[in-house]
Amino acid sequence: MSISLEQVTKHYGGVPVVNDVSLAIGDGEFFVLLGPSGSGKSTLLRAIAGLTGVDHGRIALHGRDVTQLAARKRGVGLVFQNYALFRHMTVADNIEFALRVRHMRARRRRERRKELLRLVALEGLDDRLPAQLSGGQQQRVAVARALAHKPEVLLLDEPFGALDAKIREELRRTIREVQRELGITTVLVTHDQEEAFAMADRIGIMNLGRLLEIGVPHDLYSRPATRFVATFLGAANLFLARHGTDGIHVGAATLAAPGQPAQPRGHEVVAVVRPEEITVAASPAELGRGFVARGVVDELVFNGALERLRVRLESGSGAPLLATADPDAPPYLEVTRTQHEQRSFELHPGQSVAVGVRRVHVLPTPLSSFATCATSLGEAEELARQPLLTELATRMKTRISVRCEPQLGAGEARPGADAPFVGATVIAATAGAAQRAEWLLQNGASEVLVLPAQAAAPQRVLIHWLDEAARGATLAVAASVLRHLSAAEAENVGVLHAGPGSGEVARELARRLARSPAQMLIVGVADLESFGARFSPLLDGGRWPVLIVHRAAS
């Protein structure tokens, strides 16, 4: 491995800007760190270069632990967005800087400089000052300078940010060629997904300081694992679909779900549909099994090769649900059509069309949506406005629905409506919350969030599972929650020894939660035996949000 990072964490002012990042980059690989601004990608790059220290974790270059090593001894080349050329020096002096530092003889320095200038296609510009070069030429000089001392690793920090589109394209090609010719391991940081696709062997996507997913561009695009990656890499329509025995139900359509185990109970899932996977036709009959719903063309933009549409879905029963934080937002779909499709069926704004889906990808995320639940609709609606819940839903780009359940928590009574509980069910952390949570879990809810009215975004998430059978699901849910909380750190509580059936475990967890403010607990359970009684000290009128994950032992 050329670069290996283990659990690298960096805080600024108590906030983790790089949070528990582990990564291995192979020899000669072109790796792109992609993320929005403020995602921590540049900080991570500077940590690799040695310009920023890390608070925790280990960095190794070619098997050598460099975590404590100064930047000048790491043998890396770094290229900056603003070139960072030495303006009072000529191109030649800039390129030879690293060689002069190393006391290389003048003749060998000149040879190396000529070689580098040829590599970046700037022969003959040796005696110019940086101010006399164009932006693209300056960045080429910066690349040559960074390569002069034959570093083992080349790091590029948004190197094309200040260049216009045409120069950018050219420079991209040059850098890729140079990288292939030298076989040098390269890490490029960018916020531009097109750039990432164009250059990367593999892409790592960062958000809120976390490295969410790593993969080759095509896999990340077609099979993202998280909502963030699905929506950040290209456009995506997110549906709340039902996963049944016969496939994925989106609106009226039933689609095959490759590689997904069938869910007998009709589990709710988040389905990603790319704009190019949506078809429009004059009538549902033309779309066959792929027909989802009817809609109206709201906006139509032609941009050369593709036509981009915004289609507003008609509401009504059986209409597909879009995973958006705002349930009142009109259900728009993004659609792109090729020239070929445009010719076969011409569209104009205001036209009514049948909308179909060719292919869906189901996100393996365990939390599809939230539903607040109370004995009266008013209480449920009030709970749906709880700030932590709305923040989580906004970040997860999912909806909060409300559900009134008059029999909630009442012993042997069954749920009123025949609809199953979908997504994570949210109840208020008032007296009797433990009993209500047990009732919901007994009646089919897989995740129950017990939420105090005053709870704010947690800084720390405690994770604990009562039964080994619930371990996998608990960790998956915790990972999903953590991905959407910027400042939170996870702590695994581990094994708590206590007699079965007693409330000892709940009391111990309550003690740990009480240690510092702004904590949250995620607890996994398989066996619901006397759950309410055991957890009433923690949940009844509790001050901390507690997310209970229930997976029965199979």
Binding site: G50, R72, F86, F97, V101, A131
Partner: protein, 278 residues
């Protein structure tokens, strides 16, 4: 050059007129009067006044102490400007405002304050005396006073220049293998050299012209701690206006020469960089 270019401010004719008028009325005319006053002396008389041992001693002190003060200010002004530009710390704004205090204070007040602190029984002076260091009433005191009053010029000219030295430049130098000192000498210093020279010039010019603060701490012993401006005042008090004017002309000439040299040096430095480019 066109005299009629549309612009927000009135045209070139009007602004150039004002420029020459004000420069004439405020700078050139009084200076010309000074030269005229001196010119009414006989040549031998002039030479006798400006080359008397007492005058020569005062030049040495005035220009020597000013050059020393400007040099000190380059070093410490750089450090102060660096601290203010590069670091965030509580009280930074306050410190930044404090830099300008010597501008605002009547110089006589600065002189009195310095004397209080550095006189033989002053707050600091009493600890320096056993070490054999006397500040008040020596050339050291003169240098100290000149350093104090000219310090803001050095800091204020260096600050914007240092702001432009991006941290990326140091980072680049470091990843290329340069140590701190090497990066400072080869990257930072050359980048801020023009500002450093300007700061020196302004500090020096301010120090040469200083009078108020020095006379309190200098003790004004002829040949030893007597600066030229003071000698001029002494001539004036004896109603020897022409002698005062003669000394004034010498100061004028020397200051002008000094400033001109540094300006030429700067221009040469700029030209050299442009030439290297072709």
């Amino acid at each position: 050059m066109s005299f009629r270019k549309p612009s927000v401010l009135p045209g070139f004719g009007l602004t150039f007129g004002f420029t020459t008028f004000f420069l004439s009325a405020i700078v050139l005319l009084p200076l010309a009067a000074l030269v005229l006053a001196a010119a009414s002396m006989h040549w031998s008389e002039f030479v006798a006044v400006v080359s008397s041992p007492r005058a020569l001693g005062s030049y040495r002190l005035s220009f020597g102490a000013s050059a020393l003060a400007a040099t000190i200010n380059m070093v410490f002004g750089f450090i102060i400007a660096w601290t203010l530009v590069r670091y965030e710390f509580p009280g930074r704004k306050l410190l930044d405002a404090l830099i300008d205090m010597p501008f605002a204070l009547p110089t006589a007040v600065s002189g009195i304050a310095l004397t209080t602190v550095f006189a033989r029984h002053g707050w600091i002076g009493r600890y320096l005396e056993p070490l054999g260091i006397e500040v008040a009433y020596t050339w050291l005191g003169v240098t100290l006073a000149l350093t104090l009053i000219s310090m803001p010029f050095a800091v204020r000219t260096l600050q914007p220049a240092l702001l432009e030295v991006q941290r990326d430049l140091e980072d680049a130098a470091e990843t290329l293998g340069a140590g701190r000192f090497y990066a400072f000498r080869r990257i930072i210093l050359p980048t801020v050299l023009p500002a450093l020279l300007t700061g020196f010039t302004l500090s020096f010019a301010r120090a040469v012209g200083e009078y108020g603060s020095v006379i309190f701490i200098a003790g004004n012993l002829p040949m030893k701690t007597e600066i030229t401006p003071l000698l001029i005042v002494i001539h004036l008090e004896q109603f020897d206006y022409r002698g005062a004017a003669a000394l004034g002309v010498v100061m004028l000439a020397m200051s002008f020469l000094g400033l001109l040299t540094i300006n030429l040096l700067q221009a040469w430095n700029r030209r050299r960089q442009v030439q290297a480019a072709h």
